[in-house]
Symmetry: C2
Subunit: 705 residues, 2 copies
């Protein structure tokens, strides 16, 4: 995707996470203080590299020699932890540069999070560091952790709970130190850890994208995710996501600020607007990032994919339960998540019919009923039958209790999974005995005590499988010079510009006199539309400047006079450029297509229903530009409005391909003209059975958009 | 609500749940078999009543004398458990009737769940039992349990896990034995139990409504809920819900079959169509039942309200956290649940500003930041400030970790709650030390290790508070005799009927000749509409029978001729009844209002947008009839379409009151005519700034609907 996103160089971070020597600038003698905790955590975790406390006030800290300054350390330093007060950070950075330290973790707060002045000081630090070959994490970072080398360069009290880091293959990036630590804590309580963990702090230098790009190639990391409040540079973020996707590592992020209330809270919390949430949704989708809705779901997804025994959750979901009610519940939830239940082969149905009691139904979801108590082989037979079905990619097993038979059933599940190693099995076992968790976990089969967690995981994992299986789209965007000239444009000028870029518009002519209008009609034929053209005027209809369905010379005469009069009242004579006479468009569906330049992701393209509908239907699709025709088609299909394109109330199907082409062309245009055009709105675009026509168009420049 | 629902007598069930003596017909010597387990469970739980095994093959079972038949027992029996094979149930029922037993629990399966023949046998049993003064639970029931008297009349292996029943004040009713037992198990794992539990089985006699009505007045039960697949008699269910609501007990049910896939699964599982899910949604809303979406959410809601320390979750939700990210997440989730964050008083904002560090924001959600580590009184000050705000009804506290300070913070929460006993406090504590759970639970403050569970509970609990605070609507339905006569009706006849019942229609006249049409126009004035009227013909427009905006005598002449010709081709002369000439309606919004008789809930009324919109917008509201004007207004407001009534694109607001009146009148009509009319559809109903007009109407009879 070379033309899509700026492939800035991402920082190589091996020496950060695999540091052999760590200096703590501002080390504290008290190992419970922020300057002492990293030393204690590194020591108790069993970190094998060198630890160098730096503080002129002490000779030694925690049995380690303490240095008056970093220059006094006579071996190379990979990472400097800076825990001095904010006013002293500047000097610490100078010292690090002088000592040729490649990475500094700044725990100190008091920078960008305090406002403009702090942001300026922070930018100065970064400029100085970069010039000196030093890369920064933070300021206001909680630090990093890396389990394979027992590295805890952090002061998070999270690390007070356990002496050693739990092993794990999740790479986790958090824009909030606290949320990141909480999630790390939940993982540890559940028995696993992360390969790499970073609290990015203010992201003055290294940002989320750098860490994603590093983790994409990090052999100790299998799945990547984290917690986001808003990214700085959407295109750089997407470029990093692209690297992750190409590396075949599933990604999931939780991004807050979905609701208006959440956005207000985020603005007050982060001090900045975090971009339009719907565009994050679109960007995540394009990048193959699964959006998590809560911390637990995020962890479940990441741990599933980080497990060494992971079996991709292919579509075709079968449900096996001993309670019809649980089966119905699973069918409901899977449907909400957009997943279809697998259709069984006749062979499967026949085998199930043989095995199940007569009152059970051999359909998906399969209810083996309470009879499994009396017939221990029945459950086994159901398992093998379902896993043998080639249409079943993923099996959800929903059970409960079974104090006595639970262990045997869990072993039956393990055995069945062994015989079907390419199938994904996920178990929900409500109020089950501890032994079933032990047996299934030992075999690497995910098990939850909660129906919703199990089914939600399957939903997210099947989505991730689709991402992994989908070809990565090759974008054909070829940048050309901007050609639009000065804005604003009249409707006529806007349409001419669109037509030049391959977007169909109605036949028409801009007329200065009634005779020109008559001549235009001679070429076009009645009925026609006539619209007064005023430069920079948005709401023509409300100013009486739009007249439709004119069917005769007499009607045209009267309309022309009316429009001239209306024009005289609305615009100065400089702005009035004439009357546009156009063919009437054939009947069809009116939609809106447009572009806008998002603060975070840059040019984006949108599609939605036109007219009064947009006001009540939350059914607008966005994509980050450029999009291919195929992506545009998928974008259209993601809306409910797309159903109307199939032809409604007995009408013919409408020209979906022509609509997709307009969207992809607009997306190219938005890229080319991104320095000039803030917004394009074609409203309406009339979609007919035989093509599309831009009936009105409005351009806004970057300043006014 | 005396006229709303049939207040059948609900069965008095005290003697069932407070049974002093239980006979087990078909008792087994093996206490691990279905006929032995109830005896073992009753004994180990410490049941104080008499237990009478009945089986001619044994002298004694589990040290209890065993009787050859129930007649041989010389003391009164409150409950007979029937565990004989299905073919022997008939005789067992006869024996129970003869012995004047008031209740039988039929564990035996092999009845209604097997199909028509089983349903017939089941009905025969019920008829015989009822005639003999015997009420039945089941067949195919897992039994009942009651914690206060240690009664376990069940064979569910659930009761193998613990010797004694855990105490609790939840009344739980399950249409699935397995799901009910799983949920019971989850509750027990979480440390609490139920006051009463019943697996209703096939509900051949006693059904969900009977148990709800009993629990409404049961002093040991504070909150009522359960698991539903579909109720038999919707009106009886609503009458029981009404009793519960009047008793002031919160109710929550999980009802499966929300999705199409779920409905298919439910149909295959229960063997019957469970009614339209959207109508369940509406009925639950009208009855004040909170619909739970999963077992865990259901339990969280019920346990919250069953707790002796329950503090109603009043609206005005404040969030206090130590992580801005958690605060934003809570704001998002609360918004999704339809809850608004409380707006703080200036006093609260001032106090927060004093207390919080300068970089924290004194807004809701309140982020006390990591500074609480350094300033232990800050958290306390935030708590008291927020609980002092009169606009704050409920406080969500979102924390994490705090291995060292957690206990002190938990105690601060307990102290703050004590000082604000009328405020509801709910805590989410991610990866917190065990001690915080111990401290908060001891004080009756709900605490969860999961953000979503805490916030979702607050969402449901605030909804329950609204139910409790809302007046119970008094329905004014006064049944009158049906007056509609024979269906089908032409549009004209349908409109006349509606007009008679107070629903506005356009001025118009049914004409047999062109002269009559001219005469009609003389009274109405141009422009007019003309529509061919054919009895029983639904799609007039498609048959060319609708012509609008006729503006002159000449145009009328030509239209009249066209319509006569069209009429000649579509209907036999018997069905053609003339041409309806009507005034053209003023501009406005076209909506659909209608009624339909639901299999479960009987007459219902619906409202939605008209036109092409209904096909893509899932935005139709239903209510069980009758509804008051106020309920109709609330129903309108529950749709997104209601926004269009406010006036859109600068238009005047439309007449919402007139629309509500039509809905309530239709709902009365649907009740009166329920034996005749299956469906009424007014499509469109034109809503204008000054009233409404039914522009077309269609009636379907009970047979064809």
């Amino acid at each position: 995707m070379p033309d899509r996103f700026p492939h800035d160089e991402f920082a190589p971070l091996e020496r950060l996470f695999e540091a052999q020597s760590i200096a703590v600038i501002g080390a504290s003698f008290n190992l419970d203080k922020i300057g002492g905790k990293p030393i204690r955590y590194l020591q108790t975790a069993g970190y094998q590299g060198a630890i160098h406390p730096v503080n002129p006030r002490y000779e030694a800290i925690a049995n380690l020699p303490c240095y008056p300054n970093i220059a006094a350390i006579d071996s190379p330093i990979d990472v400097a932890i800076i825990v001095v007060p904010s006013h002293a950070v500047d000097t610490a950075i100078d010292d690090c540069v002088a000592a040729e330290v490649p990475f500094a973790l700044i725990f100190s707060a008091g920078f960008g999070e305090l406002g403009e002045e702090g942001r300026r000081r922070q930018a100065d630090l970064v400029a100085k560091a970069r010039a000196g070959g030093l890369r920064l994490v933070g300021p206001n970072s909680l630090g990093i952790a890396s389990s394979s080398n027992s590295l805890i360069a952090s002061f998070a009290s999270l690390f007070d709970r356990h002496k050693q880091l739990k092993p794990g293959r999740i790479g986790f990036i958090s824009q909030s130190g606290a949320v990141g630590a909480f999630i790390y804590g939940i993982a540890e309580d559940d028995g696993f850890g992360f390969s790499r963990f970073v609290s990015v702090g203010n992201e003055a230098d290294l940002d989320v994208a750098d860490f994603m790009a590093y983790m994409a190639n990090d052999p100790s990391t299998s799945a990547i995710g984290g917690y986001l409040e808003g990214v700085n540079d959407g295109r750089r973020f997407l470029a990093a996501a692209d690297l992750v996707r190409r590396a075949g590592k599933p990604m999931s992020f939780m991004k807050v600020g979905q609701s208006e209330a959440g956005q207000r809270a985020a603005a007050s919390h982060t001090g900045s607007i975090a971009g339009t949430d719907a565009i994050y949704d679109a960007a995540f989708r394009q990048a193959g990032i699964i959006r998590a809705s809560d911390p637990q779901g995020l962890l479940d997804f990441l741990q599933f994919h980080a497990s060494p025994e992971v079996r991709p959750a292919r579509p075709g979901v079968a449900v096996l339960t001993v309670s019809g009610g649980c089966g119905v519940w699973c069918a409901d939830r899977l449907s909400t998540l957009g997943l279809d239940l697998a259709e069984f082969t006749p062979e499967t149905t026949r085998r199930l019919t043989d095995v199940l009691p007569p009152f059970a139904s051999p359909q998906n979801p399969v209810d083996a009923t309470g009879q499994i108590q009396n017939d221990p082989t029945m459950f086994e037979d159901c398992l093998s039958t379902l896993l043998d079905d080639p249409g079943v990619g993923t099996l959800v097993i929903a059970l409960g209790l079974q104090e006595l038979q639970g262990e045997a059933m869990a072993q039956q599940i393990v055995a069945a999974q062994k015989l079907a190693p390419d199938k994904c099995v996920v178990v929900a076992w409500l109020a089950g005995p501890e032994i079933v968790h032990t047996v299934l976990r030992a075999a690497g089969i995910p098990i939850f005590g909660d129906l919703a967690r199990a089914v939600d995981l399957v939903g997210a994992a099947v989505q991730a499988h689709h991402v992994a299986a989908a070809p990565i789209p090759v974008k054909s965007f070829a940048p050309t010079a901007s050609s639009i000239g000065a804005l604003p444009l009249t409707e006529h000028e806007a349409k001419q510009f669109l037509a030049k870029h391959g977007i169909p518009i109605p036949h028409g002519r801009l007329c200065q006199t009634f005779d020109e209008a008559l001549a235009a009609v001679n070429k076009i034929g009645y009925p026609v539309a006539a619209k007064g053209q005023v430069s920079g005027l948005a709401h023509k209809t409300e100013h009486g400047l739009v007249r439709l369905d004119i069917g005769s010379d007499a009607a045209l005469r009267s309309v022309y006079d009316d429009l001239e009069q209306a024009l005289a009242t609305v615009g100065s004579s400089d702005d009035v450029v004439g009357i546009l006479v156009e063919e009437m468009a054939p009947a069809g569906l009116d939609v809106i297509v447009g572009t806008l330049v998002d603060d975070v992701f840059g040019p984006t393209v949108m599609f939605g229903l036109g007219g009064v509908l947009v006001e009540i239907v939350d059914d607008v699709a966005f994509r980050v530009c450029p999009v291919t025709d195929a992506e545009a088609a998928e974008m259209i299909d993601s809306t409910r409005a797309s159903r109307l394109l199939n032809g409604y109330r007995g009408g013919e199907p409408l020209d979906r391909d022509a609509l997709a082409t307009v969207i992809s062309r607009l997306s190219q245009l938005a890229m080319t003209e991104r320095s000039t055009i803030g917004e394009i709105e074609i409203n309406p675009l009339r979609v007919t059975p035989d093509g599309v026509l831009a009936l009105d168009a409005l351009f806004a420049d970057r300043g006014t958009a």
